[in-house]
Amino acid sequence: MARYSVLIVDDEEDFREITTKQLIRRDVNCESAPDGDSALKMINVQHYDVVLLDVKMPGKDGIETLREIKRIAPMTEVIMLTGHATVESGINGIKYGAFDYLMKPMDMEPLMEKLDAAYERKRIQQEKIESAQSKNNLARPTKG
């Protein structure tokens, strides 16, 4: 079974294709979307652990897409990708709940490190919520 799942959102077809192959080789489930709207459609019907999101795309831009993702799937971690190394674009993303950002061009190793770290945070967060919920469930019968 794959370690976790990633959705790549980028308008460069080559980038989506190669990165998908590379992630699958590293035991990560991976799908991709060419723009913000199709990404949101996919997220609506399927769960992804981490989204790799290009900041600058035609159509819905990265930040808008990020805010939508955080609204419909708040647990999903998002890493922003920018070919435009202004610190602001990254910081802006983090303001709206992105896990971190990466500047293009980047090698596979730093990308993998960020993805693993993002998934790790998501996993811990989810565990916390689940354990809180199960405590709640245990507490309920005695209350009622």
């Binding site: 590379q22 070919g83 202004t86 602001e88 980047m106 090698d107």
Partner: protein, 327 residues
């Protein structure tokens, strides 16, 4: 042009002072038909007035010249800031378009390198050569991307948000970024931070970029086994940061050229020569000054950053760089 202007002004002023001083004496002399002793006194007074008017006009001209030169210097600085900002907006415009193809080259070559690992060395005669070629391509793409990212440092951030910045904390944090590099080369960071430095409203990120560039340069200058001292201090208007290293110092003939974009003495591929040019344009846009000198005992260089102590955010006087593509 200014020089001539001032000379004329000086002559005019001298004449004016002289006339104002001598006229009443002349009048007095005419009206009261003075004795010879009085004439001598009046003559003495006239000489005194001559001297005084000459001195006074000299004084005023010097004052005018000085403020004028300050103005010229300021103009030059502004022109420099403008120039750098326009490089920045140009860079911001093309960086995205360059970095995307660079990413594609990296991705393709990374994938190829990965797959080569699956090959059987007995079957592929030049396997090692292929692998080395992949590593080479990666290296050179990273070199190119270093330049594009550096160039972006010039881009004026139109939404340059000013926050309350504690310079001492900023220095400490920046030191931590370079701790590994220093340790590895056996270079000691000595921090002499003035306690109770006031916070100032400024663009913290950009100021940090400056301090980082200067500390990084200092480490490079020292190379191995030495010290880099960072001290902070203040007067009533400014905060001052000195970065002092125990390196070889800056050759006298390079003291002005080091500020030029792309000037570097570092090995090909190691330095972009943009660090100081960017740093200076940032400090100037923050209303401060960045200067370099050698230590008087010839044991290294001193780079000095001065920024104003602002209690409230100041709006930058010039806004250029249309910042395409930033989100």
């Amino acid at each position: 042009m200014h020089q001539e202007h001032h000379k004329k002004l000086g002559q005019l002023l001298t004449a004016a002072f002289f006339v104002c001083g001598v006229m009443p004496i002349g009048l007095m002399a005419l009206v009261s038909l003075p004795s010879s002793r009085q004439i001598a006194l009046l003559a003495l007074a006239a000489v005194g007035i001559c001297a005084a008017s000459f001195w006074l006009s000299r004084f005023f001209v010097a004052r005018f010249t000085a403020t004028d030169q300050d103005a010229i210097k300021l103009d030059e600085q502004m022109a420099h800031v403008e120039k750098m900002a326009s490089i920045g907006s140009l860079a911001a415009g093309i960086t995205h378009d360059i970095n995307n193809p660079l990413q594609m080259i990296l991705s393709h070559v990374g994938w190829m390198h990965e797959l080569l690992g699956d090959e059987d060395p007995a079957q592929v005669k030049n396997l090692e050569e292929y692998k080395n070629a992949c590593i080479g391509i990666r290296h050179h793409v990273n070199r190119a991307s270093k330049i594009t990212h550096r160039l972006l440092g010039f881009a004026r951030k139109t939404d340059g948000e000013q926050t309350s910045v504690q310079v001492n904390e900023l220095v400490e944090e920046t030191r931590s970024f370079l701790e590994k590099k220093a340790l590895y080369n056996n270079i000691e960071f000595v921090l002499q931070l003035e306690p109770g430095l006031p916070a100032t409203m400024t663009e913290g990120n950009r100021l940090q970029q400056v301090v980082l560039n200067l500390m990084d340069n200092a480490l490079d200058a020292v190379a191995q086994d030495g010290k880099v001292c960072i001290s902070t201090s203040r007067d009533d208007r400014q905060i001052r940061i000195d970065i002092i290293d125990s390196g070889p110092g800056i050759p006298a003939q390079m003291l002005t050229t080091i500020w030029n974009p792309f000037f570097t003495t570092k090995k090909k591929g190691e330095g972009t020569g943009l660090g100081l040019a960017i740093s200076r344009s940032i400090v100037q846009s923050l209303g401060g000054a960045l200067t370099a000198q050698n230590r008087s005992d010839g044991t290294g260089a001193i780079f000095t950053v001065k920024i104003p102590i602002n209690t409230v955010a100041i709006t930058s006087t010039i806004e250029t760089g249309q910042e395409n593509g930033t989100i």
